[in-house]
């Protein structure tokens, strides 16, 4: 017994160290599981509050620039609207106009954001109470930003395109070839698009956009532009370097995309898969 007490006294520091290290590693491991990216708990709700105070101060300083950006976007949207109306007037005047709204857009402010980590996240000031749910897409006026991963009542955290585990299906605008887009984790201005067959036409500057093979984004949302490409001779695929459209360092106003038919689609897909042998 005396020996044991001595042992404890002697190594108490080391034991405390191991104990605390164990806790740290547990949290790191838990956090690294892709499906549970962030445990958005009460403590993080507090962090979220602190960030939104910070962001509102920052917003104030950037008011002028943001106003201009929003005005530009407004102008672009208005232009589209007029064009549509013209079309309706000419051609679709008498047809049935009661279309179902398939995609809804929830405006949000980015209140925290990183670009220099191995896995980057964006925090938005909208949450469950605003209708945000996990796996909704996030876009900025320029292009795709990321996908919502965790949601609390007033905040949500999305994994950004600059996250090594986010994989998107993407295609070349104006062609039907699609591939898989992923970040490699080192250079914030380069994403890699793979599996476009080597007989497709690619030129630097081409736009890369979202495809229909996604229950997250509507098709045709720009993701980036082709910077350069090489052909993998063995595989017969392009390996295309893509510069993202969204300016990750200047993110401010973004939109969360609510695909209203998502549930219907996923339930149907799951049902179809049910009979498959594992």
């Amino acid at each position: 017994m005396q020996n044991f007490a001595d042992f404890l006294r002697r190594y108490s520091q080391f034991i405390l160290f191991l104990f605390l290290l164990g806790i740290s590693v547990f949290f790191i491991y838990k956090n690294n599981k892709y499906q549970r990216v962030l445990i958005f708990n009460a403590a993080n709700e507090t962090a979220g509050q602190a960030y939104s105070v910070y962001a509102s101060a920052w917003e104030y300083l950037n008011l002028k620039k943001n106003n201009r950006l929003l005005a530009d976007e407004n102008a672009a949207l208005r232009a589209q609207l007029l064009a549509d109306k013209y079309k309706i007037y000419n051609k679709w005047m008498n047809s049935d106009t009661s279309y179902k709204q398939v995609y809804k857009y929830i405006p949000a402010q980015v209140i925290n954001n990183s670009v220099d980590k191995a896995n980057n996240y964006v925090t938005l000031n909208v949450g469950r109470l605003h209708g945000v749910k996990p796996d909704m897409g996030i876009i900025s006026p320029d292009g795709v930003v990321g996908v919502v991963k965790s949601v609390s009542d007033h905040f949500s955290v999305g994994i950004s395109l600059l996250h090594r585990k986010l994989q998107l299906s993407a295609r070349l605008r104006g062609s039907e070839f699609f591939g898989s887009l992923q970040w490699q984790g080192t250079d914030e201005s380069t994403l890699i698009l793979e599996y476009i067959p080597s007989y497709a036409q690619v030129t630097p500057g081409d736009t890369i956009e979202t495809t229909t093979y996604s229950s997250i984004f509507p098709q045709g949302i720009p993701i980036g532009r082709v910077k350069s490409f090489e052909v993998d001779a063995d595989e017969g695929y392009f390996r295309i370097k893509v510069k993202p459209m969204a300016e990750f360092r200047k993110l401010n106003t973004v939109y969360v995309i609510d695909y209203t038919l998502k549930q219907e689609q996923t339930i149907l897909e799951d049902e179809a898969k049910k009979g498959d042998p594992e």
Partner: protein, 171 residues
């Protein structure tokens, strides 16, 4: 004694706020990722209870983790650094040994010794932080390069901050 506790409480809060709301927003580059909050562990009085040092290291990192949403990355890295602190302190001790001053000053240490002590602390912290962040040994060279480049900038910031802190009591 109470004054000291209040002083270090102030440093703690100040460094956390500075880290979370200023330094973390720099987003300089993937390879240049400085952190300054570990200054708190660096400047704890030499004869602080060692268990307390460990616990404070863990707590400091854990609070930073809560803001960054990084689970236990900072907690683990800061804890390891806090554990190594004792070894580094004796390795870079001034020839006459440590005085009874409460505050770990550059003057007491000598600038070169302080830079070495502080530099090693930063290297240990950054290395484990970046290693935990990738959670793999695969990109080991990246991790080393990140540690070195980020560490240099952190050392610059931390030394600057420390000079700022140690000026205050004399006025």
């Amino acid at each position: 004694m109470i004054g000291n506790i209040l002083k270090y409480l102030f440093y703690f809060i100040f460094l956390v706020l500075l880290e979370v709301f200023v330094v973390a927003k720099f987003n300089i580059h993937f390879y240049v990722n400085p952190h300054i909050y570990l200054l708190f562990i660096v400047i704890l009085p030499v004869f602080t209870n060692r268990h307390l040092v460990l616990f404070l290291g863990f707590l400091l990192g854990f609070i930073i983790d809560q803001f960054m949403g990084t689970g236990g990355l900072h907690a683990g890295a800061t804890l390891i650094m806090a554990y190594m602190r004792q070894i580094l302190l004796s390795a870079f001790a001034p020839r006459e040994g440590y005085g009874k001053e409460d505050f770990l000053t550059i003057k007491q240490f000598g600038l070169v010794n302080f830079l070495f002590y502080c530099g090693f602390m930063i290297l240990i912290h950054h290395f484990f932080l970046f290693l935990f962040e990738l959670f793999t040994f695969k990109n080991f060279l990246f991790t080393l390069l990140r540690t070195l480049l980020s560490g240099l900038l952190s050392l610059l910031f931390i030394t600057g901050l420390h000079l700022l802190f140690s000026r205050k009591p004399s006025k």
